[in-house]
């Protein structure tokens, strides 16, 4: 093409002049390069499974032969959609469970947000006692599998509907607890809220720690009351973190399975996730994938609403080049009462479930809580064929110790890679805010969150069974476990990455750029340190979740890569209650220890100023 052919003032697309200009433009917009790279990578590891699920939802499965014996397996069909949305079974399969799940999601999110942000405010902005200890302990409930809380609830409140030994309350008072307290909606909402408030707590305390107290003082100077200051100054600044917390909590509740199954079944309270699980369990992929797609659509619209509310406003920036001060409010005469409330809260959510696990692991006959029934055999026994099929106690068990190493390795590697990826995604999304690329990236990074774990694992078998270009066949290796864990948990770090980046003003980076400092140095010297507190929180969530994950990786794991949750699954399946409690307790304690160490280290490394605890 010659220059003359081009319209005046604008060079043609492939002209040297334009190419040079475009290269220059892209070089100065690293977020576009990063965004494109992230999008390409995520498209492969997230979109391919998504397309597979969509394809399977429209494909006649062998399971469907029972309904349509003449059907051809593998052919295109609308049968699943007709069944889930249109046939009479839709009410039981889709409508009622969806309503239950939404009711559950709204209630849990509301309670979790209130509890989580109140606690965050207490820990970051007040002079409540024992902040160091409390701050760390408040995350502990999330480190336990959520069914521990549900089991604790049952042992306290169960009534004669499910028979067997009495619940503690009935045992002590003789009163039969009504069904609605013991099972179904109310206990599910309560126990889940006591588990998932941790998202809000972590995200809000991270964000709150970076809000400059001077802003609030300025409000006070202008004569604003305390509540008005919170409402028009603090709250808006916390919006990105709050939005992330709402999204993470709400969508996780829609997908959560263990607690609704345990507490809902006795009164036939079915949720969306229990229906998906039941369909997958029957290998009825048609139903399972259509229902999963509904969840994905729900989640995406939820994120869309959230990003509409947060919008493209630039007003969330709390980190600028200007002065910063953090001031703790004095609780006055409420200092001790507030402390006691936190202590009681921790007793209920941390101490009691842990004690229950410990006690269960020390009983000779499970469920018998008398003192004469206590034994340390399941911890330190050498293996006695009369007991538990001769399985040796936890500390002598080679299998358990090996699995422990694998779990920790998986948790660490997943957290590390996830942190890096989350930061890049956050950077590309926030700096490119408003552009299509950013919106796509944000959506895709979140999609794995609602994928049914087991389906993702199953699809990865096919995707990584052979080598792809330079990447060797990953199936059967440890790498694929790390990869799938990173992908599944990416929403944590991409949300926290986005929230953290929203708070960092572009001027900080621009200053460095004016001085000719390259992108990598800007990243490591400015962006990473400033977003560290949010990012550490996201990585910690990844670490915890990765350590507790099983259904995601079970199809990909080989015996040499066995993880602790796999060991627990085996014990549960074989009804070895004490072993499973002992290993669960061990898992929880290890997660707790490691996350406390990480917090101490990150504080020591200068992240402390920004770190909530």
């Amino acid at each position: 093409m010659s220059d003359t052919a081009a319209p005046r003032g604008k060079p043609p697309i492939f002209s040297k002049q334009n190419l040079v200009y475009q290269v220059y433009r892209f070089k100065n917009k690293p977020e576009i390069i990063i965004g494109v790279l992230c999008l390409a990578f995520l498209s492969f590891v997230v979109l391919v499974p998504l397309i597979q699920i969509i394809k399977d939802a429209f494909t006649f499965q062998s399971y469907d032969l029972a309904y349509q014996p003449d059907g051809e397996v593998g052919a295109f069909t609308l049968f699943h959609f007709d069944r889930v949305f249109n046939q009479p079974i839709s009410r039981a399969l889709f409508v009622k469970p969806l309503i239950n799940s939404l009711k559950m999601g709204f209630a849990v999110t509301l309670i979790a947000i209130v509890v989580g942000s109140s606690l965050a405010w207490l820990m970051v902005r007040t002079n409540v006692h024992f902040k160091g200890v409390f701050g760390a302990m408040l995350v502990f409930p999330y480190m336990m599998p959520s069914w521990v809380m549900a089991l604790a609830w049952l042992s306290l409140f169960k009534n004669d509907r499910i028979g067997g030994s009495e619940g503690l309350l009935t045992y002590l008072t003789g009163v039969q607890v009504p069904d609605w307290v013991a099972y179904g909606y109310v206990p599910i909402v309560f126990t889940l809220a006591m588990h998932y408030y941790a998202y809000t707590y972590l995200l809000i305390s991270g964000a709150l720690a970076t809000v400059d107290s001077e802003l609030e003082e300025a409000g006070a100077t202008c004569g604003l009351g305390k509540w008005k200051r919170i409402r028009i100054i603090t709250m808006p600044l916390l919006m990105p973190a709050l939005g992330s917390a709402v999204v993470l909590t709400f969508i996780r509740i829609l997908g959560t399975f263990g607690t609704p199954a345990l507490l809902g079944l006795p009164v036939r309270f079915f949720t969306f996730s229990t229906q998906i699980y039941a369909s997958i369990n029957a290998r009825n992929q048609g139903d399972a994938y259509v229902l999963a797609l509904v969840l994905i659509v729900l989640a995406i619209s939820f994120i869309w609403i959230n990003s509409r509310i947060i919008g493209v406003r630039k007003s969330y920036v709390t980190m600028t080049g200007k002065g910063f001060r953090k001031r703790e409010g004095d609780l006055g005469k409420w200092r001790w009462p507030a402390t006691i409330i936190v202590i009681l809260f921790l007793c209920m959510t941390v101490v009691m479930p842990l004690l229950l696990l410990l006690w269960e692991s020390l009983t000779l006959i499970p469920g018998n809580y008398s003192l004469s029934n206590l034994t340390t055999y399941f911890w330190s026994g050498q293996g006695n064929v009369q007991l538990a099929y001769g399985e040796p106690g936890v500390i002598h068990n080679k299998g358990i110790l090996g699995a422990l190493g694998n779990s920790v390795k998986l948790g660490f590697m997943a957290a590390l890679f996830n942190g890096a990826l989350g930061l890049l995604v956050g950077y590309a999304v926030v700096r490119g805010r408003g552009a299509k690329l950013a919106r796509w990236l944000e959506g895709i990074a979140f999609a794995p969150y609602i994928f049914p774990s087991i389906a993702l694992g199953a699809i990865y078998i096919g995707m990584f069974s052979t080598s792809i270009g330079p990447i060797p066949a990953l199936y059967g290796t440890f790498t694929i476990l790390v990869l799938i864990t990173v992908i599944k948990n990416l929403p944590f770090t991409s949300r926290t990455g986005i929230a953290a980046m929203l708070q960092i003003h572009q001027s900080l980076e621009e200053t460095a750029r004016v001085q000719g400092i390259g992108w990598f140095r800007r990243m490591f010297r400015i962006i990473v340190p400033l977003s560290m507190s949010g990012l550490v929180a996201g990585m910690l969530l990844t670490f915890i979740t990765a350590m507790r994950e099983l259904s995601l990786i079970i199809l990909l794991i080989s015996p040499g890569n066995m993880v602790l949750t796999g060991v627990i699954f085996g014990y549960q399946e074989q009804d070895m209650a004490q072993h499973s409690s002992a290993v669960t307790l061990m898992l929880v304690l290890i997660i707790i220890t490691i996350s406390v160490i990480v917090r101490l280290l990150s504080r020591g490394a200068g992240v402390g100023r920004l770190n909530a605890t």
Binding site: S62, Y63, L65, A66, Y67, Q68, P69, D70, N86, Q87, P88, I89, R91, A92, L93, K96, D160, R161, I162, G163, G164, S165, A261, L262, L265, P266, R268, F270, Y277, A278, I280, N281, A282, R283, N284, I365, P366, G367, N368, V385, Q386, Y389, G390, I454, A458, I461, G462, S465, T466, Y475, G476, I554, L555, S558, P559, G566, G570, E573, Q574, D575
Partner: protein, 417 residues
């Protein structure tokens, strides 16, 4: 077009007959295998090439050369066998994937679709899918060691070798019912006096529980007759319910049956001592052993009209293109137990030690009340002798494949009322 529930349920019933024809069709298509697979089958004398006589020493020698056997299992207890097996067959390492029944099938199918042939021995339940999806599609192959063939009744080795038979039964609390079983007919469970006092393991989540329920549904005429024997009246079906089997399920749910997530918790709920209004549990017979391990006071109802035990199988087979086919054969023989074992053998507990282990071999971890070897020459486990006194029905794979999904739909609709 929208359907009412009754026409939907009638459609379910109507397709039963249609389903029967399709089975024959899918069995035919199953014979088509790729040339490579055909060569592998011939080389290893599997599938239609199975031999009546085998050179067992040669198989063991080749197995030792192969050096490993990879097992996908629905049960983790097989892990207990590793040391014993490896001591008996030095040079063959047992690599066990403990996956649960659904994931065992899922992993096998997904791997084979991706061209990965990793597994040698597959052992899992879920009759319908194992026979119709795996066996009939050439994903697994039946193998019965020739020297065991006449020790195993045909129904336990054809079309697929059974590793262990287990049963769903009804438990009652002997303290709360000192005079014996509180019912004599299963239909009593649907009557007012047992409202909310019957527990069942969630059939939507548990394959064995679904198979137990399906076994009752499989015999509608017998169920209808039993109803008449109890009440003296003919059974009246609910609106849109196809037959007496489904009607039993509907009435059970309408009578507020309590759904449990775990079969062992259900056994404990029925059997905990000190209850005066204990529930009746429909659960796996094997949990009767919790009378010893947990102090339960359960007993099994052995004389119910029309049936007392609903038997479901766990199969074992060799995966298509298995990398260690001879080691797979040796391990399957090991899982069947020592040939020195016979019906008069007296086995001493613990079974996982000494001579008992040497005789039982792969049966040892499963030699519990409620589990029965496929062999006709193995004594019943101590505490499980009642098995032979009970009227029993077996679940058919064909029924599970064709009716299982409809029974699930039926359960879902009637449990969500």
């Amino acid at each position: 077009m929208t359907m009412t529930r009754s026409t939907f349920l009638k459609a379910i019933a109507g397709s039963v007959a249609a389903g029967l024809f399709s089975v024959a069709a899918s069995a035919v298509s199953a014979q088509e295998v790729s040339p490579e697979l055909q060569a592998w089958l011939e080389e290893n004398a599997l599938g239609t090439n199975a031999m009546v006589e085998e050179d067992w020493d040669d198989i063991v020698a080749r197995a030792t050369e192969e050096g490993e056997v990879v097992v996908y299992s629905s049960s983790g207890r097989i892990a207990k066998l590793a040391d014993h097996f490896q001591a008996l067959y030095p040079g063959i390492t047992l690599t066990l994937f403990d996956l649960g029944s659904v994931k065992t099938i899922e992993k096998t199918v997904r791997e084979q679709d991706a061209g990965i042939f990793n597994v040698d021995v597959i052992t899992t339940g879920n009759s319908g899918q194992v026979i119709y999806e795996l066996l009939n599609n050439g994903r697994i192959f039946n193998y019965v060691p020739a020297h065991y063939a006449d020790r195993i009744p045909e129904e336990n080795r054809d079309p697929l070798l059974i590793r262990v038979n287990e049963a769903i039964v009804f438990f009652y609390n002997t303290e709360a019912n000192p005079d014996g079983a509180p019912i004599s007919n299963v239909w009593e469970l649907t009557q007012e006096q047992f409202r909310g006092r019957v527990g069942i393991k969630d059939p939507m989540a548990s394959g064995s529980s679904l198979m137990g329920l399906a076994t009752l549904v499989q015999y509608p005429e017998e169920m209808a007759a039993a109803y008449e024997r109890l009440t003296g009246e003919a059974l009246v079906l609910g609106e849109g319910v196809p037959d007496a089997g489904f009607e039993f399920v509907r009435r059970l749910l309408a009578n507020d049956v309590v759904i449990f997530k775990s079969g062992s918790k259900l056994a404990d709920a029925a059997g905990a001592a000190g209850q005066d209004d204990a529930m009746i549990a429909m659960t796996n017979m094997t949990y009767i052993s919790r009378n010893d391990s947990k102090g339960n006071v359960n007993a099994i109802m052995a004389d119910l009209d029309p049936v007392s035990r609903m038997v479901y199988p766990t199969f074992m087979s060799i995966g298509a293109n298995a990398p260690h086919p001879n080691a797979a054969k040796v391990f399957i023989a090991y899982l069947l137990g020592n040939t020195d074992l016979n019906i008069d053998t007296v086995l001493e507990k613990p079974y996982l030690e000494g001579e008992s282990f040497d005789l039982l071999q792969g049966l040892a971890p499963y030699h519990d009340a409620g589990s029965v070897s496929p062999r006709s020459d193995v004594p019943l486990p101590a505490g499980g002798e009642i098995w032979d006194q009970m009227e029993g029905w077996n679940i058919s794979a064909e029924f599970m494949w064709q009716q299982g999904p409809k029974l699930r739909d039926f359960w879902l609709i009637h449990s969500s009322q």
